[in-house]
């Protein structure tokens, strides 16, 4: 529990101290990652022990809730910081360049969750003997063996996954469109006028201090609504990410959800690790 409180502690201290935003968020993120790693070990342990002796469902649910709360904590913190500095949250300096390159609006692309599910499900379905076991389980017509892992996804679950995927992609497209609209406003008439005006002033006046102050104010007030727009888009994107995770976990059985959350954490942590290693190598080379 002490680990849990530490990322939460960063959140409150950073707000209180008003320390430089991305520095604190980086600390928060590193702390959050180590907690995720800890939870991953718990998930793996649970999944392993489940295969030998069925674990109490309440225990499974409380573990899942803990993991989901951890995700929620991440997005809550992120939302707080993006109110301070949305630009920093959209260009996260705490990620590797590999992760940066695959970002969708400051985070992971929500529709990726379905690929993750299908890939992990496929991995478990292609495990030796699994297909035969599935067909055998149809023979016995008992439901005791269903919902053991992600290969056992039922017709109802698959149709709900499929439906959720389609809704998610539609929303993802809408948010992308909103982002496009937001980005396009950067070349709006007021911005062009402002940049034109100050550039010409610079040519004639050599930029007096009085003008600089005035310019800064005007730039700030021109950027303000645009940053607000970005903040809205980021908020929607993060909400969709969290909602997609929640909805997927909800439609899976508890043990399936554990397998899914393992896959999600493993991929997240590994890509971060590989990305950091690559960056270190490139840094050395340069």
């Amino acid at each position: 529990m002490s680990v849990i409180s530490s990322s939460a502690a960063y959140l409150s201290s950073a707000i209180r101290d008003n320390s430089p935003e991305h520095e604190s968020f980086k600390k928060f993120f590193d702390c959050w990652l180590s907690e995720q790693n800890q939870q991953l070990q718990d998930l793996i342990f649970t999944a392993k022990s489940f295969s030998s002796t069925p674990v109490d469902e309440a225990a499974l649910r409380s573990l899942i809730e803990r993991v989901m709360n951890h995700y929620e904590c991440y997005y809550r913190t992120k939302a707080t910081w993006s109110r301070h500095d949305v630009c920093a949250m959209l260009t996260p300096s705490w990620l590797s360049s590999l992760e940066d390159a695959f970002l969708w609006i400051g985070g992971w692309r929500p529709s990726m969750a379905f690929h993750l599910l299908y890939s992990k499900s496929g991995l478990q379905l292609e495990a030796p003997g699994k297909l035969d076991e599935l067909i055998r389980s149809i023979t016995t017509t008992t439901t005791t063996t269903t919902g053991q892992d992600l290969a056992d996804i039922s017709p109802e679950q698959l149709s709900r996954v499929n439906e959720l995927q389609r809704r998610t992609i539609i929303e993802e497209k809408e948010i992308s469109e909103e982002m496009a609209r937001c980005q396009e406003t950067l070349a709006g008439p007021d911005m062009v006028e402002l940049s034109d005006m100050v550039s010409e002033q610079l040519g004639t006046n050599n930029g007096s201090i009085v003008d600089d102050v005035g310019e800064e104010d005007r730039v700030e007030s021109a950027l303000k609504p645009r940053e607000k727009g970005l903040e809205e888009v980021l908020k929607r994107a993060d909400e969709l990410r969290l909602k997609t995770l929640n909805d997927l976990v909800d439609l899976l059985t508890p043990i399936q959800a554990v397998h899914f959350l393992i896959a999600a954490a493993q991929l997240h942590l590994k890509i971060h690790e590989w990305g950091k290693k690559r960056d270190a190598k490139h840094h050395l080379a340069a």
Binding site: R136, T139, T141, S154, L158, S159, N162, E163, R166, I169
Partner: protein, 429 residues
């Protein structure tokens, strides 16, 4: 006939009221309509599948009001339905042949006739259709049991199964899903055809389907709110495959255009009933070049370097090289027939015919181990019900397992699978 008219009118209303609206609006309207027509669905299903289900139900009602022959379905559907309700979910894409419960009364009346009809007319099938690893759903599936009730017509007591895999956008596939069975029905009912005329009738149906697609390209382009409008005004660069099986008591008539496929599983052996139309198939290559076209290898063989199949509904921009003419096979049904699998290339690209048959066969057998033929009677009747329900479940199990297998084997396309049980072991001897 009244039922049929009713069904058609309602359908017309549905599509008419849907068309001028945006995607969101469209979905909302369909949801409303769904509620109105099938109040028993717990969760509002998605656009495509709700329409599909709705139509299934309409057709079932059609069958019920005009004849008793399909009424046995009511029993099996009541099982499936109560299951749906209790789970609070909708088996939407993976739908079973669920039909209104109120058909149940009809089934008690004429046992003997029914038993005969059961054998002849009761389709047992499972459908799964998922978006998979694609961002757009361009597959469409259409299942219409007892789709024609015209007395004396060859199509009476026949079932229609179709899989359509769209490309460019989804609207041609959707149009095929909504219309092709109606066109085939009209063609089959238009005159008393001799059995040898299946080929002509099906060819004519596909030609008409293609013409309708062309017409709609010209007229209601603005109406169909789809992706391709955003990307390009050239709506004629859209098409769809079509593999259609018309199942009669004696025959399986498969018409294919494109690279979806129908495979018959007979006594454990996979027999393809269609041959994929790929541009590098020798006879297709000859045909395309004779028409003045070229096949260029650009990420596989493509007509004019663009389309990776040599026949399709739609695709006006590639005519006359790409044609809508189907190849039709007529296969006599035998007692060794186990099941028929129709699927889009999302399945066939990663699962062989043999594997697919093996899996489907095991699912069917697992559910319903071969039992000695039973004489008809009241107890037999009950057993039959159970067997039917489970057999349908077996088909669903098979279609879902094949879909999961395709996804497991990294299929990157939409995956649509229809499995039809062809076994006749409950036939009276």
């Amino acid at each position: 006939m009244a039922g049929i008219c009713c069904g058609v009118v309602r359908e017309g209303e549905t599509s008419a009221s849907m068309e001028p609206s945006s995607r969101t609006l469209k979905r909302r309207k369909v949801e409303l309509l769904t509620y109105k027509f099938i109040a028993d669905v717990a969760v509002p299903p998605a656009v495509e599948c709700s329409r599909k289900r709705q139509k299934l139900e309409l057709y079932a009602s059609t069958a019920a009001s005009s004849t008793r022959e399909c009424c046995k379905n009511g029993v099996q559907s009541s099982e499936a339905k109560s299951k749906d309700e209790s789970e609070g979910s909708h088996a939407c894409e993976a739908l079973r042949s669920s039909r209104p419960v109120n058909l149940r009364e009809n089934s008690a009346s004429t046992e003997l006739v029914e038993n005969k009809i059961l054998r002849l007319e009761n389709p047992r099938f499972g459908v799964t259709s998922v978006c998979g690893r694609r961002r757009d759903m361009e597959d469409a599936v259409s299942v219409h049991p007892c789709f024609s009730q015209e007395e004396g017509s060859v199509s009476k007591g026949c079932h229609f199964f179709g899989v359509f895999d769209g490309h460019g956008c989804s609207h041609v596939a959707m149009k095929c899903r909504d219309r092709l069975h109606e066109i085939v029905k009209e063609e089959l009912e238009s005159d008393r055809l001799a059995p040898a005329q299946w080929k002509e009738k099906m060819e004519r149906s596909f030609t008409r389907m293609d013409e309708e697609v062309q017409e709609s390209n010209g007229s209601d382009r603005i109406i169909s709110n789809c992706r391709c409008e955003l990307q390009t005004p050239r709506c004629d660069a859209v098409g769809s495959t079509a593999v259609v099986a018309v199942l009669t008591p004696e025959k399986i008539v498969v018409s294919n255009c494109g690279d979806s496929r129908a495979v018959l599983c007979r006594n454990g052996v996979a027999i393809p009933l269609s041959s994929d139309h790929k541009p590098d198939r020798p006879d297709e290559l000859v045909r395309i070049e004779a028409a003045g076209g070229r096949v260029i290898y650009w990420d596989g063989a493509r007509v004019l370097g663009m389309l990776a199949m040599s026949r399709a509904i739609g695709d006006n921009y590639l005519k006359p090289y790409v044609i809508p003419e189907p190849e039709v096979t007529v296969t006599d049904r035998t007692d060794d027939d186990e099941c028929l699998i129709l699927a889009s290339d999302g399945l066939w690209d990663v699962v062989s015919n043999d594997t697919a048959c093996g899996v489907a066969r095991m699912c069917l057998r697992a559910q319903n181990p071969p039992s000695p033929p039973r004489s008809p009677g009241s107890s037999g009747e009950v057993r039959n019900d159970a067997a039917f329900e489970s057999s349908d479940k077996a088909c669903s199990d098979a279609s879902i397992l094949l879909t999961k297998l395709a996804l497991a084997r990294h299929s990157t396309d939409n995956v649509s699978v229809v499995v039809v049980d062809l076994r006749r072991e409950r036939q009276q001897q």
